[in-house]
Symmetry: C2
Subunit: 454 residues, 2 copies
């Protein structure tokens, strides 16, 4: 291990130069004219995996951009880690806001600046370089390792789900290691162990069969906007709890340990409110902001429209009104079940004076890896060693459908070992990634393989 660490240190300059080569390839997956660049990028990743000493390196064709696969299975009786990442990047417009060209990486202020520096080239290269350091020095890895680096993440991974389904055996593993999220704060080692799911609904209320004059008809028939407002108002009580029957039935409560963990995090309600320019935060009674964000389900209107929506006044009593509403779900809520309960409830509270149409637009499962799982515990020990600081445990309010897909298809826990920062400008001009994170990420990956092998 000492040799491996020395190797990482001695080769850090070359590692950065190679990352620069990786970042020079404009592998924008959404733009047709970059198809060749994306293909070249797959080849680059494959060659780096081969150089690192990985076996069975493959470029796998899909209906879209190729996947890169590799494995090293020489650790008998040891668990298997599947590293997932993506080599494609977001478009770069508006180009004029970039201080340096997006595909000409530069080092400045301890950071590397280029499109993809954080998302996700910098973060997946960490693991390739970790494997290289281990294999060059120990000639073996402490665990079996598989890599699956895709080229379509930025366009929604249209072919990955099918690939997972039909290659469960090939991808079989004991943990999926993903570095595609963020540290809780700069230099704070972070393991994310849960994501919220989603249930997205659309409700349409229909009153009279046509838009009416609000003078000639106002007062005599239900106004679908007023009724929709009443319906939405009834979906939450004064404590911010969702009133849909059975909504909380399957919610896994926060454990004391989780609440203690969240409390330890440096988080200021005041700063959070100030940054959003709101006078006061608001959420479910009895929970802190981080608990509300990470571990409690929500009900938010995402859009509403009806009647006259242009400038000025029109005295219309509209025929219909529509709201888009989504619920963020937490384990073990199920989006299909929640959609059914939602539909049943809103239909039951809508007055007879309007017709109601309810549609489930889409949904996604929440997920959580138990804090006590071997993978999470190993990852936490690894990042603590790499950063020289206690690792914090976070969950995430949003959904990353592909993570849930991995967990469900492969029946393995996901370890979200994010190394970026929320301020790294991913998807924006002047994307960057801290070189310190890059270095500590390589160590975290090495230590994780070691810890997970125990």
């Amino acid at each position: 291990m000492r040799n491996t660490l020395k190797y990482v240190k001695d080769n850090s300059g070359r590692y950065v130069e190679e990352l620069k080569d990786y970042l020079r390839i404009p592998s924008i997956s959404t733009t047709k004219s970059h198809t060749k660049d994306v293909a070249n990028c797959a080849k680059f990743v494959a060659s780096k995996l081969k150089n690192a000493g990985m076996k069975k390196v493959e470029i796998i064709k899909t209906k879209g951009h190729p996947l890169v696969y590799a494995e090293w299975m020489g650790a008998e009786n040891k668990p298997t880690v599947l590293v997932y990442g993506h080599y494609d990047v977001q478009p770069v417009d508006p180009l004029k806001l970039w201080k340096t060209p997006p595909f000409e990486p530069v080092i400045k202020s301890g950071k590397i600046w280029a499109r993809g520096a954080n998302d996700n080239k910098g973060q997946n290269f960490v693991h390739i370089k970790a494997v290289e350091a281990l294999l060059k020095n120990d000639k073996k890895l402490p665990v079996n390792v598989k890599f699956l680096i895709e080229g379509e993440e930025e366009i929604g991974s249209p072919n990955l789900s099918q690939f997972l389904k039909t290659n469960r055996n090939k991808l079989k593993c004991d943990a999926v290691l993903i570095s595609d999220t963020s540290l809780f704060a700069p230099n704070v080692p972070t393991i994310n162990y849960g994501l919220r799911g989603l249930c997205y609904m659309e409700v349409e209320l229909i009153g009279p069969n046509r838009d009416l004059h609000s003078g000639s008809f106002g007062g005599s028939v239900a106004n679908p906007i007023n009724e929709l407002a009443k319906l939405i108002a009834k979906l939450q009580d004064k404590n911010g709890k969702v009133t849909i029957p059975n909504f909380y039935k399957n919610v896994v409560p926060l454990t004391k340990k989780e609440r203690d963990n969240f409390k330890k995090l440096e988080f200021s309600d005041e700063k959070f409110a100030k940054e959003l320019k709101v006078n006061q935060l608001q959420g479910e009674k009895g929970f802190s902001t981080l608990e509300r964000l990470w571990a409690r389900p929500t009900l938010d209107c995402n859009g509403i429209y009806g009647g006259f929506t242009e400038e000025g006044a029109k005295t219309v009593l509209p025929s219909k009104a529509t709201a888009k509403m989504s619920m963020r779900l937490v384990p073990n809520q199920n989006p299909q079940t929640i959609a059914k309960e939602f539909t049943k409830y809103v239909k039951s509270i809508a007055p007879k004076s309007v017709k109601i149409n309810v549609k489930a637009l889409h949904g996604g499962l929440p997920c959580m890896v138990p804090l006590e799982s071997d993978a999470i515990k190993a990852a936490a020990r690894a990042t603590t060693r790499a950063f020289g600081k206690e690792t914090v445990f976070t969950r995430e309010g949003g959904s990353i459908p592909i993570v849930v897909e991995f967990m469900n298809q492969l029946n393995a826990p996901a370890v979200l070992m994010g190394l970026g920062l929320d301020t790294d400008n991913i998807h924006s001009p002047n994307e960057h990634f801290s070189l310190a994170s890059f270095q500590k990420g390589i160590l975290s990956s090495i230590y994780f393989m070691e810890e997970f092998s125990k």
Copy 2:
């Protein structure tokens, strides 16, 4: 009187021919290319008033289309009636839906078909022909009569209000007679004695300073759409009463006589609901549909928007949401006072977690002429005589700002002696007007002058 009535009968053919001439002039006030036609129409009206025997016939220039004024002031010690109407018409598109050309009037099924037949040429010509019949036979009128026929009603009477203000003396009268509304039902003589007013507001709620990801932020900050829904829901109670403090303070209650009058009208809730394709009507508890429409104030959302309003799903927690809400007012509610009470109340119920902006967009006074007023009683006797049937008394849910303007500027009651039918296709292709209504309208006008002179 007998001679006058015989004259009307004997000349009915010529009257209709003259109305056809009137209808042949394409006096579309909103279309620039018709400016000359509008001017010619003013000349036509002036010549008909002169032929009828009216004095001081004037074409009065305005910044837009001219007004036609005339008077006959020979009835000493008798009241003065001001007849208001408009000679301009709506555009005719879509032209292809007209069964006969809009400016080539034809008689078919006892109706005259042309743009303006009902609105308002047919209805104002009634009064010109009534005066002609009286003056040709009696050489005098039972009351003093003034005419003010404008050419800009269909574009919102932009110059009339100022003219009323600066010509109060010239227009001084004891009643303003207007035929520009409808009979309650075919062949049912109808006097409308009240209009609702309006107070139109816009409410904007602002949450976070930018649109947020509903996963990363959902549950921690107020969602302006959800909050707007709650706010709207609070504006009415479960009985359909508006909850704004002092809202009903100045409402003139329906009298027993009014409620009895409305009950006598042939009106079916079932038919009304069926026509609007709603399963159930809805309104303020304790009032019938006609009472709700005509004599009770309302609060209707006319428009609402916020967040993502296109097809599909977007997981946004929006920065703001806006609703347009208007209240139909009844005597003696005042739009300014109501706007203030509304603003105060919505600001008091909005949570601290959102900012609120409230704007009063526009307003209009309600109006009502007491059923016991001489003008209304005379008009009712007149229409009863003309139609040979008991006159019904209605109010109107909408607002006709110019009527209120007349009442306020001239301090005289308005008599809304509507002769059209709601099915006459005003503002639409195939506008028409019943020849029976035209005839009975002339008699109603003659009888009104006689009755009002008593």
